[in-house]
Amino acid sequence: MASAANVFIHRLPEVSAHELHVLAVDDSHVDRKVIERLLKISSCKVTVVDSGTRALQYLGLDGGEENSSIDFDSMKVNLIMTDYSMPGMTGFELLKKIKQESSIFREIPVVVMSSENILTRIDR
């Protein structure tokens, strides 16, 4: 995913006033390190997690306690970048879970990246 992220990040609009907070999701240790560095060098605030489950936990969407608006503001995520193929929950499944939310979470753009170049391998 990290090589795909390169291409995407160079196209991110300049964010001058506030830092973009990106939540990056990838099960690969190597990819997490590269994405984190890429985003930091692009002046983004980064949170990196290793699975869809952890991403949902971070967002407070894991069916636990309701997230109060105060908590949400302090870690407000502007963009989610996720690898597609991960054990457990795929990036696409994560996207679906987030979009099922009837709140601000629905509006967070989610980018799913895949290193697959054979389309039929990406389960729609």
Binding site: S3, S28, D31, R37
Partner: protein
């Protein structure tokens, strides 16, 4: 050897690694991410890649040794390896992974075993080449010089 000679050696070695397909542009992208605030970035990523490699190659070996072979499981490991090799610019490793995946899909055990051997070989070559690269970098830095990056 003085700094200039070391730097030339490094440049030549990097150029050779690219020419021979060991590394592709992604590696130079990684170098661009390195700076004073993250001076060991490339080495750290590569070390992670080495750990990953050893883990995944072991996993593949074990998976191919089972009776019967679960090709989906083998493929899962190869897919992961393909991903991380692509992320560090390890082109030859990545290419063998692509072929390997085709054999997994075809459930061709012989093809898979051959690919695994090839992967181990490519990984070994890459590791030696990169370790040499890093040693040259260390020597240059120790001598007070700066590291030339891949153009």
């Amino acid at each position: 050897m003085d700094v200039l000679q070391l730097q030339r050696k490094l440049r030549e070695h990097q150029a050779a690694m690219i020419r021979e397909g060991f590394l592709d542009d992604q590696f130079s992208q990684l170098q661009k991410l390195q700076d004073e605030s993250s001076p060991d970035f490339v080495i750290e990523v590569v070390k992670m890649f080495f750990d990953d490699s050893e883990n995944l190659l072991n996993n593949m070996t074990r998976a191919l040794g089972q009776v019967p072979v679960d090709f989906k499981q083998v493929d899962a490991h190869v897919h992961q390896y393909k991903g991380s090799s692509a992320s560090v610019g390890a082109a030859r490793v990545k290419n063998v992974c692509a072929t390997f995946r085709n054999f997994c899909e075809a459930q061709n055990l012989e093809g898979c075993v051959r690919c695994l051997q090839q992967l181990q070989h490519e990984y070994s070559l890459l590791k030696n080449n990169l370790q040499y690269l890093f040693r040259l970098q260390e020597e240059i830095q120790a001598a007070g010089g700066s590291i030339p990056t891949i153009e």
